[in-house]
């Protein structure tokens, strides 16, 4: 379907456990995502969604468990490593530097350089030119320039810049952790369009949100976490939105649904 013949998981996390002192945030979670697949990662507050993704992006180190990338076991021990592997994060709260220009934000830590004698300087011309492309591709229409200060961008424009940047750097996995909090309806729709665009580019997308309707609409697969455990996983259309609500509210799978699941 949307997997375009990608039958091997791009990322596979196996039996991931994470303890913070006495708090067990993750209790042996398996998680996988395929190229061109949008996985909705849902669950109540404190379910462990962000923790799982912070492990994937090298911010936290798992207490136990393995991560496979393209079938190979990998050690992701820093955010830089994750970025180098093509794993990008789009987060509502952070990811852009307010006091800096859009161009400097897009290229932070991956700046194009030109050699001037013995020193390497930023290639500002290239940065501005490429940023203009990112802005256009991300569908930002109103008055954002490469040298606009990020502080003056709207919430939707910020998310668009982050997603545009991920596409530009040919990310293979894009993690969106509650990307639409505090966005207007139109801006939310725009983020949705960008997610579909990522899928079209065969990017593996992990979409975390409390807005179940939004997830239900976008995701090819929905993974439900509950207090550090994977409760269930459904392909698009396998359950109804109402049942999804019930599962998350109850923190368990209703008996009749369980039955259905077993038959598979």
């Amino acid at each position: 379907m949307s997997n375009k013949g990608n039958d091997k998981p791009l990322v596979k996390m196996v039996d991931i456990e994470k303890r913070f002192g006495s708090v067990q945030a993750l209790k042996g979670v398996d998680f996988e995502v395929y190229p061109g697949e949008v996985v909705g990662l849902v669950g109540d507050n404190g379910a462990g969604k962000s923790t799982l993704m912070r492990i994937l992006t090298g911010i936290y180190h798992p207490s136990r468990g393995d991560i496979y990338f393209r079938g190979e076991k990998v050690l992701i021990d820093s955010p830089k490593k994750a970025r180098d592997m093509g794993i990008e994060v789009v987060h509502q709260g952070f990811g852009l530097l307010d006091s800096m220009t859009v161009a400097r934000n897009v290229f932070l830590a991956s700046e194009p350089l030109i050699k001037v004698g013995p020193v390497k300087l930023l290639d500002m011309e290239k940065m501005n030119m490429e940023t203009r492309k990112v802005i256009e591709h991300a569908g930002i229409r109103t008055g954002v320039e490469p040298d606009s200060i990020v502080q003056y961008l709207s919430g939707g424009q910020r998310q668009a810049v982050k997603i545009g940047r991920a596409i530009y750097f040919k990310a293979e996995v894009v993690i969106l952790d509650e990307p639409t909090i505090a966005l207007s309806i139109r801006e939310k729709d725009h983020v949705g369009e960008l997610v579909n665009d990522l899928r079209k580019h065969n990017v593996a997308v992990i979409y975390i949100s409390h807005d179940l309707e939004e997830v239900y609409e976008l995701a090819d697969k929905i993974t439900i976490l509950d207090v550090g455990e994977k409760l269930a996983e459904y392909k698009r259309g396998e359950v109804s939105l109402e049942v999804l609500y019930d599962i998350i509210r109850e923190g368990r799978i209703p008996p009749d649904i369980k039955q259905q699941n077993k038959k598979e």
Binding site: P79, K80, L97, R104, L121
Partner: protein, 325 residues
């Protein structure tokens, strides 16, 4: 228009400098504006200015360096015995390395051992001031006479074009280089990023610890260089060398538009800030005020500049938001 102007963090400093030139010029009946006096003023400005460049860099990354005055002092006074023992060039390089090493110590304490930079560098302020007393034995020590005419001493602390101190020349060069570094290099981008929002910078793969460590080391080198240059100029180093420079350099940076919260700052502004403070110092001398009043004045100016900058910036931002509607 306002949005454009707000980019120039140092506008306030320019206004301040122009005002002081007029006030002192008029109050002294033109006496203050003579070349000899300006040579003195720019010389002290250069000493402070070079230190303020490093301080600004550290501030931009979201840290403070309160030890710059003591680095200035200890590297300045240790230059004398090092030169006497090992010769001019080795002595110079060793003294300079001392500055870098103290910077490394500051960086290690704050970034690896997680001691808040205010505390770590305050500790080093006292530790290395103590060392200054130890090295000088409580007095001043002088560069041996036979070495005073060495070309390196002249390059560092001599004079050019009829009385302008060579440190002024170094100050301008270092300013230009650091402006380039901050605005046109990967490191500069990373420095602003780390100071603006550590978590976001980290998520892009910038290591805040590495960037800040580098900032502390550069700051240490610059404070050392200025201290050595000052001793090369005066031929002696005393126990008070560089005292209260931590306060003055922070004030200079802030006057030039650098934010104490990190992520915002201007090297050019820091230069203007140093110049302004140096003006004030000479103005006080002109007015016949005892020298100890200067530090009190710097305190007042520092607080005033912070208030002015934050209020003005808020005001401008509000205007921009309104005009954007």
């Amino acid at each position: 228009m306002l949005k454009y102007l707000s980019k120039f963090l140092w506008l306030g400093a320019i206004v301040g400098i122009l005002l002081l030139i007029i006030i002192f010029g008029v109050a002294s009946g033109g006496r203050w504006l003579n070349v000899l006096n300006l040579q003195v003023v720019t010389r002290t400005a250069a000493q402070l200015g070079i230190v303020a460049i490093g301080q600004t860099l550290v501030l931009i990354t979201g840290r403070f360096d309160l030890s710059v005055g003591s680095i200035f002092g200890v590297c300045g006074v240790v230059f004398v015995p090092l030169v006497a023992a090992f010769g001019i060039w080795p002595g110079f390089i060793l003294a300079l390395l001392c500055g870098g090493a103290i910077g490394l110590l500051n960086g290690t304490l704050t970034e690896k051992l997680r001691v808040p930079s205010l505390i770590a560098t305050l500790g080093n302020l006292w530790i290395f001031r103590g060392l200054v007393f130890y090295i000088t034995g409580g007095f001043a020590n002088a560069i041996p006479r036979d070495l005073r005419d060495h070309y390196l001493i002249t390059i560092l602390g001599g004079k050019f074009a009829g009385g302008w101190n060579n440190l002024i020349f170094w100050w301008i060069i270092i300013t230009a280089v650091m402006i380039l570094v901050l605005n046109r290099t990967k490191f500069g981008n990373a420095a602003f990023a780390v100071g603006t929002d550590e978590r976001s910078a980290l998520s892009r793969g910038v290591s805040p610890a590495t960037v800040r460590m580098a900032a502390f080391i550069i700051c240490g080198f610059l404070a050392a260089f200025s201290g050595i240059g000052t001793v090369a100029d005066m031929k002696t180093g005393s126990t008070t060398l560089g005292q209260s420079m931590e306060l003055e350099s922070i004030a200079g940076s802030v006057i030039g538009g650098t934010s104490l919260l990190g992520g915002v700052g201007s090297i050019f502004g820091a230069g203007l800030g140093a110049l302004l403070l140096s003006f004030i110092r000479s103005g006080l001398i002109l007015a016949g005020a005892p020298p100890y009043w200067f530090v009190s004045f710097v305190g007042v100016v520092l607080i005033g500049a912070v208030l002015f900058n934050t209020k003005m910036r808020e005001h401008i931002l509000k205007r921009i938001e309104r005009s954007a509607l």
